[in-house]
C-alpha cells in the first residue's frame, strides 16, 4: 500500500495537529437551550467562504449545479 510521499508526512502531521472547532452538543431529551447565541454578521461572512467551497466540491464530484444538493 502506498503511503504519503516524503515531505507530505510533515504536511499531514501539521494538518492533524490543527485545532478542530467543536459543535454545540446536546443530549437527547434535554430541551435546546435558549442561550444558543447567534452571530449573524460572522455567519454571513463564513457563508461567502462556504459558497465557493461548496461550488468547488460540486464541480469536482459532478453533482448538480443547483443549490439543492442531490442526496
Amino acid at each position: 500500500m502506498n503511503g504519503p510521499k516524503k515531505g507530505e508526512d510533515n504536511k499531514l502531521l501539521d494538518e492533524l495537529n490543527k485545532e478542530v472547532h467543536q459543535l454545540n452538543y446536546i443530549e437527547i431529551g434535554k430541551a435546546a437551550e435558549d442561550s444558543a447565541q447567534l452571530d449573524v454578521k460572522r455567519a454571513k461572512e463564513i457563508a461567502k467562504q462556504l459558497r465557493e467551497n461548496i461550488e468547488a466540491y460540486r464541480n469536482e464530484t459532478g453533482l448538480s449545479q443547483r443549490p439543492h444538493p442531490q442526496t
Binding site: E15, H21, L38, T71
Partner: protein, 182 residues
C-alpha cells in the same frame, strides 16, 4: 432572491423546536433571504437542532481542518445544537423503526440513513412536545402516511424555484396504520 411562505409561519414557530436537514444548511449558505428567515425564526424563540450525520453531509466539501472549521462555525453561529447518540433510538424505538422502514422502502433508492435518523428523532420528540418540526427539502423520504406536511417555503433562484417543507408526526396516521396491520 424571493421567498414565499405563510404569513403566520414565524409566530407559529415561536417557542418551538426545528430539526434541520443538510439541505436547509446548504440553502442558508446560498440564499441570503432564507438565511435571514432562519435568523428571524431563531430570534422569535425557535430553537434549531440537528444531528451528526447532517453535519457530515454538510461539511463534505472541506479539504482541510481550516475549511472544516468554517462549516462548524457556520452551524454554531446559527445557534444550531447537535444531538448526540441518535443511533440508539433505532433499538429503543424498534416498533416505530420497523413502521418507518416499511413505509419508506417503496421509493427507488430507499430512505437515506440521515433522513431515517431525523424521522426517528422527530418521533422521539413528539412524545415530549407537539411543537417540534422537521425542515427538509427532501420530500421523497418523508412518508405522508406517517407525517403531516405542515408548511412549505418556496425559494426563488435564477432559473427556478426550490422549496423547504416542515413536517410533524401524525399520531392519528400511525394509529390508523397499526389498526390496519392487525
Amino acid at each position: 432572491m424571493k421567498l414565499v411562505y405563510p404569513n403566520d409561519l414565524i409566530p407559529r414557530l415561536s417557542n418551538s423546536h426545528l430539526l434541520l436537514d443538510a439541505n436547509v444548511l446548504f440553502h442558508a449558505v446560498q440564499n441570503e433571504d432564507f438565511f435571514d428567515l432562519l435568523v428571524t425564526m431563531h430570534t422569535k424563540g425557535c430553537a434549531f437542532l440537528t444531528i451528526q450525520s447532517v453535519v457530515f453531509e454538510f461539511a463534505r466539501g472541506a479539504k482541510s481542518i481550516e475549511q472544516f472549521n468554517w462549516y462548524i462555525d457556520f452551524i454554531n453561529l446559527l445557534g444550531i445544537q447537535v444531538h448526540k447518540d441518535v443511533e440508539s433510538l433505532i433499538t429503543k424505538d424498534r416498533a416505530f423503526a420497523v413502521l418507518l422502514q416499511t413505509h419508506t422502502s417503496q421509493s427507488k433508492k430507499g430512505i437515506s440513513y440521515t433522513d431515517f435518523l431525523l424521522l426517528m428523532l422527530l418521533h422521539k420528540f413528539a412524545h415530549l412536545s407537539d411543537k417540534i418540526n422537521l425542515m427538509t427539502a427532501n420530500y421523497t423520504d418523508v412518508p405522508l402516511k406517517i407525517f403531516d406536511r405542515k408548511d412549505i417555503i418556496a425559494l426563488e433562484y435564477d432559473g427556478g424555484v426550490q422549496s423547504q417543507a416542515l413536517y410533524q408526526i401524525s399520531q392519528s396516521k400511525i394509529d390508523s396504520l397499526v389498526k390496519r396491520a392487525k
